[in-house]
Symmetry: C2
Subunit: 142 residues, 2 copies
DNA sequence: CTGCATCCTCCTGGATACTG
DNA sequence: CAGTATCCAGGAGGATGCAG
């Protein structure tokens, strides 16, 4: 896990006393709805993967499609449209032949990079533990 | 099953130079599948909200249900089962009358706290910007 | 290459009722 | 209080074909 200082960029210092519970303090029912709503949009697996793959540099449509591996053309289109609508991704059309469309993160999208990558890295680091736990669970109860 | 040896060495030094892009470098198609798989489980909005609400202390079933506001009993049950299966949440049954069941984060679950809260805080901080972008988009194109 | 539109299937997830 | 079971509508998402 990354150092708290870099985990949440310009946000209040995560390591500040009581900051750990500050997140939970903000977890009133009202905030649950807000977080839930946002997560319903940007929290799905395709959006996260697109953001991760746009982290470094802009990518073209089929480039993303190839990198993400498993995503259908339809879902990539829909995901990119959704992210564009939410102001997280910008779409730049080069009117060449054949047409070339580049997608990149906006400022807002870049601000999402850190949280999303933290989640992605956690996934990479802990998927083995999850698989083990799952086998244990299924072995005992399944 | 996962030859974590080659794929995911145990986490290289986070503070090493270029670590920021290291996340993206690890974004090979193979890793996309892994991240996608993990995200499909723990990345849905209910799981995230449950983890956030268990961040500070253990909670009882209806306590969570009340806090999350909008979740159905069914989904809370399924979400908790899933998180338990993945080793992220522990379930402690007190054989009293009426029965009392406490849910808490495991060590693995606690390790997920930071990434998840980062995402949650981002959601709280940026949902307004997202709503604005959405209105702008819908106003222009919708 | 990029990207819509259509069809069709399956899973998600809410509502409800019932047990211990 | 905690949990299971059943029903069912709606959306997610893949496959395919066509267009610019």
């Amino acid at each position: 896990m990354q150092e708290g200082t870099s985990l949440i960029p310009d946000h209040t210092d995560v390591t500040a006393p009581g900051r750990d519970t500050a997140g939970a303090e903000r977890m009133m029912p009202e905030n649950c709805r807000i977080v839930g709503g946002v997560l319903a949009r940007i929290g799905d697996k395709w959006s996260v993967l697109v953001v991760m793959n746009l982290s470094e540099e802009s990518r073209r449509f089929n480039e993303l499609k190839r990198m993400i591996d498993g995503i259908s053309q339809r879902m990539l289109t829909l995901t990119l449209r959704g992210l564009e609508r939410d102001g997280l991704v910008s779409r730049m059309v080069n009117p060449t032949i054949p047409p070339r469309v580049d997608y990149a993160l906006t400022d807002l999208g870049r601000s999402l990079r850190q949280p999303v990558q933290a989640l992605g890295l956690w996934a990479l680091d802990n998927h083995a533990a999850i698989d083990q736990a799952r086998e244990r669970y299924d072995g005992a109860k399944g």
